[in-house]
Amino acid sequence: MAAAPRRLRTPLEVTLAVWRALFLREAVARVSKERLAWLWLLLEPIGHIAILVVIRVVIRQRVIAGADAVLFYVLGVLAFFMPRNMILRSFDAVAQSSQLYAHRQIKPVDAVLVRAAIEGLVSALLFAIMLGGLALLGTDVAPDDPMRVLAALGALWLAGLGLGLINSVIGELLPDVGRMLRVLLTPLYILSGVMYPTVIVPHPLRDWLLYNPLLHAVEALRAAWMRGYRVPAEISLSYTMAFAIVAVFLGLALQVRFRTRLIAQ
């Protein structure tokens, strides 16, 4: 195998090769780890939506804050699940690839970034499948302001990425704190406006809720998608965006600060 001497790859080429290799590996693992893992991927959000919709249908309310009830839940659950899954899968992202850090090209941060990309892609697929299904059932699913919809989804992804980067360091270096944070994801689900519109929340409580950056993005997404949907005036996508950018930089800083310890463990 006397190959001609190869040109050394540039750092960018090496990084892209790492991401590509990790991405394909993680993508295969995501859908093949357990039996029917791919089906579960779809059933989990459908289950949540089905329960919420059934409860609503029983009390016969077809319109929520001026918007279609089913679409309201679909958007809420899918929007929230993207950052939630990114956070959930970041806790063990570093440890799962620990055997691979023997290759100096792979850093722990690569594993986290690749997982975030995969969860983003999974979310995009879920949106396509669910909204396609709704369209077949006769609901009008076309977004009214597509650009703002994309901005809201981008903000949610970025927030998930930032929180994921931070959590990946915590989950690896402080596993106990990691377990506690994992438990906090359930209250976050309740506090992010997935099951109710913010406008029905009474005032002293609403002011507290509005500190949650995910709530802003979820509500902004719905408002952009359905023109008749009512949101409080305080809902601001820039708030989520600013939070996400700070979180991403904090997460990257933690990854740099603890890079040796993340590999060593």
Partner: protein, 218 residues
């Protein structure tokens, strides 16, 4: 070649920091196989990791002036939940051999002699099978220098001969740094030795002399 300059490395322990490498400077050339010797805890594996670039030094630097492999041995660099074939593909992509995956996979499977096990998860492999896979993976790519940490000890005699032969065939094109506690293996493969002691490195042009200094020559 790999140039190591003023390398310092310490680990923190409950009793305060312990210096493993203190102001170590040495050059590993490309024209000779070098044995890296030393007593247990002398810092052989630490130095290997630093040379491979998977650990960071507290002071000093390591310069790799050629293509250096990852540290081979104990199935490192291999994902246990993936099959041998998936690992092979992964490493092909990682090192930029995506275009020739097919030939490389054939070579790897042929060299490792894993048969059907090539399509089973690495965690089901025996220690010897893992070592065979590790070696096959590194031989599939032309590195200028191979870093081998104890990996040769596992595997049966026939495979050890095969791996030794593969290294001898590469003599002149590539070199290796070998950590091993087997005097016969070191004599067979290496032309020079480096002995680690008290955080410093000493170069020996003769392997026999290095083994004598360490009392490994009986």
């Amino acid at each position: 070649m790999i140039v190591v300059e003023n390398l310092h490395k310490r680990y923190s322990t409950p009793h305060g920091p312990r210096w493993v490498l203190r102001d170590l400077s040495i050059t590993f050339p490309r024209d000779r196989n070098v044995a890296l010797l030393g007593r247990n805890g002398a810092g052989k594996s630490t130095l290997m990791r630093l040379m491979a670039g998977t650990d960071t030094a507290d002071r000093g630097r390591v310069e790799r002036r050629c293509r250096v492999s990852w540290p081979i041995g104990h199935a490192r660099g291999v994902q246990r939940t993936m099959t041998g074939r998936q690992n092979a593909r992964f490493i092909c992509r990682l090192y930029g051999f995506e275009a020739e995956v097919k030939e490389r996979l054939e070579f790897i499977n042929g060299f490792a002699e894993l048969g059907d096990a090539f399509d089973q998860a690495v965690e089901t492999y025996s220690a010897g099978m893992r070592a065979r896979l590790s070696f096959a993976l590194t031989f599939a790519f032309d590195f200028d220098m191979y870093l081998i940490d104890e990996g040769m000890a596992v595997g049966d005699a026939a495979f050890r001969r095969k791996a030794s032969r593969a290294f001898k065939e590469r003599a002149g094109r590539s070199a290796m740094v070998l950590v091993s506690h087997s005097a016969s293996l070191v004599r067979d493969l290496c032309q020079a030795a480096v002995v680690l002691d008290d955080g410093k490195a000493r170069w020996f042009d003769s392997v026999d002399e290095a083994l004598r200094v360490l009392g490994m020559d009986e």
